[in-house]
């Protein structure tokens, strides 16, 4: 689909990062597991290195955080991941875009259920503010140091985080006065 796909191999070469990979290029990403699927380059930084990886990528020309979302892998704790990545319940998925290189890179960060928090990207990508609020609202993942971590789509007094897989569907009371209870 893109020009850059041609240069990206389908599987990492044995012994070290493949040619053309960002991991090989940036020292800050040294040792970060990487995977390829359908031409997308996916990095798996540990949570402690996530912010430094994003800062390094921004320095390398990835000027735009085009997307940020979360995934609840409650039903798939045994999903396939590259070596050296321990599966956790949540993942925060960040899509960075480089205009100069015409290239995208995706970061998948494992976030444990008992401490569902990751540092915010707000200070290097201010455009991630609303997307992080959305991930907080719908998944309950806290973005530490976020300037305004409040609900964005759901009402302020809503309980629970609807896109979590254990959030019951079809059991929400109708929000009208004198509603006859759960549907």
């Amino acid at each position: 689909m893109t020009d850059v796909r041609d240069g990206v191999p389908d599987a990492p070469a044995p012994g070290g990062a493949p040619e053309g990979s960002l991991v090989a290029e940036l020292a800050a990403l040294d040792g970060v597991p990487v995977a390829y699927f359908r031409g997308d380059e996916v990095l798996f930084p540990a949570r402690e290195r996530y912010l430094a990886a994003a800062v390094a990528l921004k320095g390398a020309g990835f000027a735009m955080c085009s997307d940020l979302c979360a995934v609840d892998y409650l039903a798939h704790m045994d999903r396939p991941l590259p070596d050296g990545v321990a599966a956790e319940r949540f993942e925060v998925v960040v899509n960075l875009l480089s205009l100069e290189r015409r290239r995208r890179v995706r970061l998948r960060v494992q976030v444990p259920e008992d401490d569902a928090s990751v540092p915010t990207l707000f200070r290097c990508y201010p455009g991630s503010e609303n997307m992080e609020r959305e991930a907080f609202d719908l998944f309950g993942i806290r973005f530490t140091d976020h300037p305004d971590l409040t609900r964005i789509l759901m009402p302020q007094d809503w309980e629970g985080h609807p896109l979590r897989k254990d959030y019951g569907t079809g059991r929400v009371p109708v929000q009208f006065k004198d509603a006859p209870g759960p549907r």
Partner: protein, 502 residues
């Protein structure tokens, strides 16, 4: 646990990564010894246990960036827009219900409202110029807007959750309802994502039909925007003009797809039906008529002194700030960044047609108007090339696991009946994986992130709506402008609330 408590307990294992970096995301030249890092015992253990990975890494960063001097905000003239935005902020960060009556909220810090000379007013969500149920809280000093906060969610219907309950075949009916002014672009984005997951190749005619529909939809969306923008600036003539032109396109959509909106015409594996007989004539009439009428728009608005007064220099955003706010589409291009996914990362067959990427210079409301108007002209140019180059052949892949057999085959072939039944009851099952696929919708980068667990329904579907992301730029655009210009600026962002709230 309330939001407040959750925020309060944020000092987790990773709480202090930012403490190590300065506001612009660069590392501090002097690392504060153990600053904040040791709050959680787990964090200390983790850092030590990981063999000092993190330390080493930060050390490298520090070495690169030392000697930078004070990290305080410098003089206003020397501070770049992004840093200023982060430090001072254009976003009004107060609870959404506090504007109803600030005095009733004891937790609210009165100082956040300024020195008493400012007031907060609500625009919307029932205001006709907010293009739907958008509410904007505006902090005003006299008639000047200081900070503002778009409040959204009034139209939230959980479409991403719904998508997890629908098969890939049904998914197109869901996403087409998000951005209701460019439903075909939504369907194309969805189908390209699903096809990337399946790794199937489209027949050329399917690709070109999609491109035709995408460009016609871009035209209808932009003339609709021109209409409502005209109405916001008190030009009812423009409103009638815009709706008149849009009607022509919608009539063709109705003829082709059976519906005027929410078509479900583009489906995984191709399109639902071939173009109707005589479509070339219909499309020629549409583009020729709209091409001449664009000149009328120019006469009506572009050179008109009142229109220019109301739009020039209003709501200016520069390229750095637009990029930092993740703005895409006409907002980014009006700021002077020639970024169009059709050109930069071509999908469908956009690398085989000739068109220009329209950019502005100033990044004000007038530039955004001009970019959109000229994008209609470029779309017309593309449609004319499609009219010449439209290939013949199949309009969908002949893989019966993905697309249904023709109706007549069901009567004579048991296998066709089974395929039809399986496709509509269970659908197909893409391989395990996750992909992100993006197209250029009339409003910017429209992306779809799909996670497949190998079943017939997506495990997770995330929609990167350009309206949702572009709305973040509104406070930056509004800051320092007059209340009366708010309407013009909001209109120039062109949010579609169905997509914002999903």
């Amino acid at each position: 646990m309330s939001d407040e408590q959750e925020r309060g307990s944020a000092a987790g294992a990773v709480a202090s990564q930012w403490a190590e970096l300065d506001p612009a995301g660069r590392p501090r030249d002097e690392r504060p010894p153990e600053h904040g890092r040791g709050d959680a015992p787990g964090a200390r253990d983790e850092t030590a246990g990981a063999g000092g990975d993190l330390r080493t890494h930060f050390d490298v960063l520090f070495e690169q960036e030392t000697g930078e001097g004070d990290q305080e905000l410098g003089p206003l003239a020397e501070t770049d827009a992004v840093e200023l935005l982060i430090e001072r902020g254009a976003v009004l960060r107060v609870p959404e219900d506090s504007a109803l009556d600030p005095t009733l909220d004891p937790e609210l810090d009165a100082s956040s409202f300024g020195d008493g000379e400012t007031m907060i007013i609500n625009l919307g969500p029932q205001h006709p110029s907010t293009h739907g149920v958008l509410r904007v809280m505006l902090e005003l000093e006299g008639e000047t807007v200081l900070r503002s906060k778009p409040v959204i969610g009034y139209l939230h219907t959980g479409m991403e959750k719904t998508a997890e309950e629908l098969t890939y075949v049904q998914g197109a009916t869901n996403v087409t309802r998000m951005d209701y002014l460019s439903p075909l672009n939504n369907e194309i984005c969805w189908c390209l994502a699903v096809e990337k997951l399946l790794d199937v190749e489209m027949p050329p005619r399917a690709t070109w039909i999609r491109m035709l529909m995408s460009e016609l939809n871009r035209i209808s969306s932009h003339v609709m925007w021109a209409a409502t923008n005209g109405m916001d600036l008190a030009s009812t003539t423009m409103m009638i003009f815009g709706f008149r032109e849009r009607e022509m396109v919608l009539a063709f959509f109705e003829k082709t797809t059976g519906l005027r909106m929410n078509h479900n015409y583009v489906r995984p594996g191709g399109v639902a039906a071939d173009l109707p007989d005589g479509w070339e004539d219909d499309v020629s009439v549409i583009v020729e008529t709209i091409a001449t009428r664009l000149d009328e728009y120019d006469e009506l608005l572009t050179g008109q002194p009142i229109f220019r007064e109301r739009t020039e220099g209003v709501g200016v955003i520069g390229p750095e700030l637009a990029l930092a706010m993740s703005a895409t589409g006409p907002i980014l291009r009006a700021a002077g960044v020639a970024w169009d996914l059709r050109r930069a990362m071509p999908y469908l067959a956009y690398d085989e047609v000739d068109f220009d990427v329209i950019v502005g210079t100033v990044g004000d409301t007038f530039d955004r108007y001009a970019v959109r108007l000229n994008e209609i002209r470029e779309s017309i140019r593309i449609v004319r090339q499609i009219l010449e180059k439209m290939p013949s052949g199949d309009y969908r892949v002949q893989d019966k696991k993905i697309t249904p057999p023709p109706r007549a085959r069901i009567d004579e072939s048991m296998e066709a009946l089974i395929h039809h039944f399986k496709l509509y009851t269970r659908g197909f099952e893409p391989p395990v994986g996750e992909i992100y696929s993006a197209i250029e919708s009339p409003r910017g980068e429209l992306g779809c992130y799909l996670v497949s667990d190998g079943s017939n329904k997506p495990y997770r579907m995330h929609w990167r709506g350009p309206s949702f992301v572009n709305l973040q730029s509104v406070p930056a655009l509004l800051r320092g402008s007059l209340l009366a210009d708010t309407v013009a600026i909001l209109s120039s962002v062109d949010p579609v609330l169905g997509e914002v709230d999903r």
